[in-house]
């Protein structure tokens, strides 16, 4: 029943000690986005974020070729599929945001 006297944590202390609960800084500006010129503009799904959080909510992906970066889309569930996919031949093969849409803050049980 008694546990060992030495309890080590290799990851969690460093990773979480400085971690604060992220709270979106809501901005009332309406935002419409598309990933490239071949996709439709759509209203982002309720994520009116400050510029500070913008990168985290809409992380871009793409690749370099011919000395230029070619944007392919966003890793974001806040952007509808039709505005994120388009018809660009440079699109990555992965689609994202298919899990996690149940919109609960926590799973606590």
């Amino acid at each position: 029943m008694k546990k060992s006297k030495v309890v080590n944590l290799v990851l969690i202390t460093a990773a979480l000690a400085s971690c604060s609960k992220p709270k979106p800084d809501w901005d009332s500006n309406e935002v419409y986005m598309r990933s490239d010129t071949t996709a439709n503009y759509t209203h982002t799904q309720g994520m009116h974020l400050s510029p500070f959080l913008w990168y985290y909510a809409f992380r871009p992906y793409g690749m370099f070729y011919g000395g230029r970066y070619h944007h392919s889309g966003y890793y974001s569930s806040s952007l509808s599929e039709r505005s994120n996919i388009g018809r660009s031949a440079m699109k990555g093969a992965a689609i994202r945001g298919g899990f996690g849409g149940s919109h609960s803050f926590s799973v606590s049980s």
């Binding site: 969690i12 979480l16 994202r96 996690g100 606590s108 049980s109």
Partner: protein, 377 residues
């Protein structure tokens, strides 16, 4: 079982934050060391024994539900059945679960089993252990959570698909992130290569027909702090069906055990078990004094306590459309105004420790406090 009021450690907030416990206080205090619970060794042995026996009974109950195709009673959609049965037949790795008990000093009764996404693991395994080292290091605690997690990951390592073990949870909950990262910490200590990917960042590579992380690395084993009952209703469940070889941990058969419909099944199979309360599906209920619970519910939502046909207490929430079960009431003694619930952990098939949550309310919810415990021999 006794409750003692004490003075908290000076600057305890800094002490627990140093351990990585960032959600000790939300709108109300969650970690509360103004008190502790004292158990005798025989009481802890009773809890330990009950946990081991109930775990065995739960596995029998899963087999019963599968054999008798009772999925409709659990509101499990047809398209999830193959995933459940495959995970059961393939013995996909499962790690942990938490039985919630009421205890009156003599009788110990199961209220529910949190089998899929139980939380408070970090508090039970780490925070209350370090509290004990400061408060009464010569005393014992029912707590081998940390060692068992590491040992069980070591044991499971050869059974995982080769490569990375991913961990996932929702983005905006520090509590969930802490639980998932704590679990990952133990896997790292077991020598398993790991990565964290938030649940909504998981990708599906249509060309390769595989789930990928943000670096497009294939996901083959993944611990998810995310409920199956949500996953089955989300778009990627179709993709999950296309790639059934991924090890989702906890496995899909936990959909049966984490559902409160398992409680009337346990009563039907084990009516003489001292730990199981009389329990029925709502349409078959014959009890006069009972607790009515949605088969899917979290944090004490949508629960009613009924006595002689009158509602004694109830909570609101968003659950209930899938149906209810009715469980015989069990009186837990109050300690002042406080009502404690014992959360007893089973990790790697073994009883592994416990955490106590208490509330002024008859219904334990998301504002209930976590109180440390010790064993007085």
């Amino acid at each position: 079982m006794q409750r003692h009021t004490i003075t908290p450690r000076n600057n305890w907030q800094a002490a627990v934050e140093k351990l990585g416990f960032g959600f000790h206080t939300a709108d109300v205090p969650y970690w509360d060391e103004n008190a502790y619970y004292e158990f005798s060794l025989s009481e802890v042995t009773q809890i330990e024994t009950a946990t081991a026996e109930l775990w065995g009974m739960c596995l029998e109950a899963v087999q019963y539900v599968i054999d008798h195709k009772l999925y409709h009673k659990f509101a499990i959609p047809d398209r999830a059945i193959a995933v459940i049965e495959k995970s059961w037949n393939d013995d996909v790795p499962a790690i942990y679960g938490r039985f919630d008990f009421g205890f009156d000093g003599t009788a110990l009764k199961l209220f529910e089993f949190n089998a899929d996404t139980p939380t408070s693991l970090f508090e039970a395994g780490i925070i209350q252990w370090f509290w004990l080292q400061d408060f009464a290091s010569h005393k014992d605690q029912f707590n081998s959570v940390h060692e068992r997690l590491i040992d069980y990951w070591k044991y499971l390592k050869p059974y995982l698909h080769e490569g990375i073990l991913h961990f996932t949870c929702v983005k905006h909950s520090l509590e969930d992130l802490t639980t998932a990262e704590y679990m990952r910490d133990c896997a790292i200590q077991a020598g398993i290569p790991t990565k964290l990917v938030f649940i909504d960042d998981i990708g599906w590579n249509q060309e390769e027909c595989e789930f990928v992380d943000l670096e497009d690395q294939e996901i083959k084993n993944i611990f998810k702090l995310y409920p199956w009952e949500w996953m089955v209703n989300e778009p990627f469940f179709d993709q999950l069906l296309l790639n059934p070889e991924v090890y989702w941990i906890e496995p899909a058969w936990k959909m049966i055990l984490s559902n409160k419909a398992i409680l009337p099944v346990l009563w039907k199979l084990y009516p003489n078990c001292p730990y199981v309360l009389e329990c029925y599906f709502e349409e078959e209920n014959r009890l006069k004094d009972y607790v009515k619970k949605p088969i899917y519910s979290r944090e004490g939502a949508n629960i009613s306590i009924i006595k002689d046909g009158q509602i004694l207490a109830e909570t609101r929430g968003i659950y209930g459309k899938e149906g209810f079960i009715c469980q015989q009431t069990f009186n837990i003694p109050r300690f002042g105004s406080k009502i404690p619930i014992i959360g007893s952990w089973v990790i790697g098939q073994q009883p592994s420790g416990m955490g106590i949550r208490e509330d002024d309310s008859l219904i334990t919810g998301n504002t209930s406090c976590f109180i440390p415990h010790l064993i007085n021999n």
